[in-house]
């Protein structure tokens, strides 16, 4: 609250006071009070008015400052109105009551929205869970039947499953911590599970896989990480360059953690797009004509963020793409090392 703002608000009472003062002085002069006495009374009046407005300004200014300080200090600003002190003046009180009503209404709506969202997430989870039964049945029917059509059916079934999984992980991605099981996981096993999930697509697309030399272990959630790797692999298939397409897995041990790299010799990413590949819905310029939702890498990045895994990309258009997953060495490793030291001694 600035002084000018205050003065402009108080213009009417100030003018009234000034008019009153002028009238008083004229009246006193009219009844023959001397100039000196008149001046004294005038100054006294003006001083009283000035004192009142000064104190009023300071009090109001402090109150406004306190208000914004308590608002920015409150942990949940949506709930601040509930804890704010009620004002004394009738006008402010009316505003205060109105604000409280608004904020209660907004809170109620927000809670209802959150509940709807939770119910929807639950529903998606149930749906994806249920859809696995017909997908499994479809797979079995195709595999029992055999032949060329069965192979094509299997490929489509895998796509169907992969898309439903994507929906599941998208629905869950807000609450990763609810469903997280961090354990020491062998990189070979982790990559193997993702490769098995994408096996049909990789083989059908003629993408050679080189992951046999992979060693090392990281602490992570197997299920989430498998999903991330599966999304990356599905991109390797989509943006392959045949013939001779291949994808290679390798790891680097670093002082501060382990890096798992997924390298492919596919179309690569134009330098201008490299910064945007993790954006939601980004499918790139001419990439958009292919089968792409723009969700795969976005979800992969988001889930990696929640699992404290760094996901970055390097690429050269027309040459290669390399996605790097960095698993930082955490407290678990230290603990593990200590246990090892203890057992040794």
């Amino acid at each position: 609250m600035s002084l000018m703002k205050y003065l402009s608000e108080k213009l009417a009472p100030l003018l009234t006071a000034a008019a009153g003062l002028a009238a008083l002085c004229l009246f006193l002069a009219g009844i023959g009070v001397g100039f000196g006495e008149n001046l004294l009374v005038g100054c006294g009046f003006a001083a009283a008015v000035l004192a009142y407005f000064t104190v009023d300004f300071i009090v109001k200014k402090l109150r406004v400052q306190g208000l914004s300080a308590s608002l920015s200090a409150s942990r949940d600003s949506c709930l601040w109105a509930e804890t704010a002190e009620a004002p004394r003046s009738a006008e402010a009180l009316a505003y205060y009551e109105a604000m409280k009503r608004c904020s209660r209404e907004a809170l109620a709506r927000e809670l209802a929205g959150r509940k709807r969202e939770e119910e929807f997430t639950d529903y998606i989870e149930k749906w994806v869970h249920e859809v696995k039964t017909p997908v499994t049945a479809l797979r079995l029917i195709a595999e029992n039947a055999g032949g060329k059509i069965a192979g094509e059916l299997l490929q489509e079934t895998d796509k169907l499953f992969s898309l439903s999984e994507q929906a599941l992980y998208y629905a869950r991605s807000e609450a990763v911590e609810k469903d997280c099981f961090i354990a020491k996981t062998d990189l070979g096993t982790l990559v193997n599970e993702a490769l098995l999930e994408q096996k049909t697509a990789l083989l059908a697309a003629g993408v050679a896989v080189d992951a046999e030399e992979l060693t090392g272990a990281v602490y992570t959630d197997r299920k989430w990480m498998r999903f991330v790797l599966s999304q990356i692999l599905s991109n390797c298939v989509k943006y392959r360059r045949t013939p001779g397409a291949c994808v290679r897995f390798y790891s680097e041990e670093r002082e501060d953690g382990t890096v798992l790299c997924v390298w492919d010799n596919g179309a690569g990413i134009p330098a201008a797009d490299l910064g945007r590949i993790f954006e939601k819905g980004f499918t790139g310029g001419d990439r958009s004509k292919r089968y792409a939702t723009g969700m795969g890498l976005y979800l992969a990045k988001k889930l990696c963020g929640k699992l404290n895994v760094g996901l970055t990309a390097r690429s050269e258009e027309g040459a290669y793409t390399e996605l790097r997953l960095f698993f930082p060495r955490g407290a678990v490793h230290v603990l593990d090392g200590e246990t090892a030291a203890l057992t040794k001694s």
Partner: protein, 218 residues
């Protein structure tokens, strides 16, 4: 002939599983009532049980616990629940394996075979006078021995463990991917050619028969 009981409440999956297991030469049965699953299983005296976790009347975990009170039959959980905690729990209860839906048939069949051979501890496979040493990855016949690469060993193992049946290339490839050998059909063909050369050298030519368009037969 090994007897396998399938506990699965989805009629479609049940029918297809029974079909696939029968084609593989197993005697497969499936209860269609789920009031007393453990009782149904025990009364059939199976060699292996494929057990779903979400069954209409009881959870597969409870069923397994009940079975374990009187029988040590191997049990494979087949489920759409994929939480690691569930898998861990299932295995601590004494399940042999845990397969998540949607699985591929060759994978499931390989797990079934593995579970059935539990305890048998076959260190060597012998078919038509050719012996595969599974510990040392060597093949021998007529007193002569050849060393095998990882790929060649896996291929020969896949064929010999299914001897008498034509094995489609897809099935061999599936089994190899499970063992982290990521071969495609070309690599498979190259490896089979090398394998046949080695077999010829130890005096077992035509051990692997190529059935054009269908697969390989040992």
């Amino acid at each position: 002939m090994a007897k396998i009981v399938v506990c699965e409440d989805d009629a479609g999956i049940r029918r297809e599983l029974l079909k696939a297991l029968a084609a593989e030469g197993y005697c497969a049965e499936a209860p269609e009532e789920f009031q007393d699953v453990a009782g149904e299983i025990l009364s059939r005296q199976p060699d292996l049980v494929l057990l779903d976790i979400n069954l209409p009347s009881a959870s597969g975990f409870d069923v397994l616990r009940e079975i374990r009170r009187s029988a040590d039959v191997p049990v494979i959980f087949v489920t759409s629940r994929e939480a690691d905690a569930d898998e861990f729990y299932g295995l601590t209860l004494g399940a042999e394996d845990y397969v998540v839906k949607p699985y591929s048939l060759p994978v499931l069949l390989a797990r079934v075979k593995k579970a059935l051979s539990r305890g048998a501890g076959a260190a060597a496979l012998t078919v038509h006078g050719v012996t595969l040493d599974t510990a040392a990855a060597k093949v021998s016949a007529n007193g002569r021995t050849a060393e095998l690469t990882k790929n060649e060993f896996r291929i020969l193992y896949a064929l010999m463990s299914r001897h008498g049946r034509i094995v489609p290339p897809d099935e061999i490839i599936s089994e190899m991917w499970e063992s982290r050998l990521y071969v495609d059909e070309n690599t498979l063909n190259v490896n089979i050619a090398r394998l046949r050369k080695k077999l010829r050298e130890i005096g077992a030519p035509d051990f692997i028969v190529n059935k054009r368009g269908m697969g390989y037969l040992v």
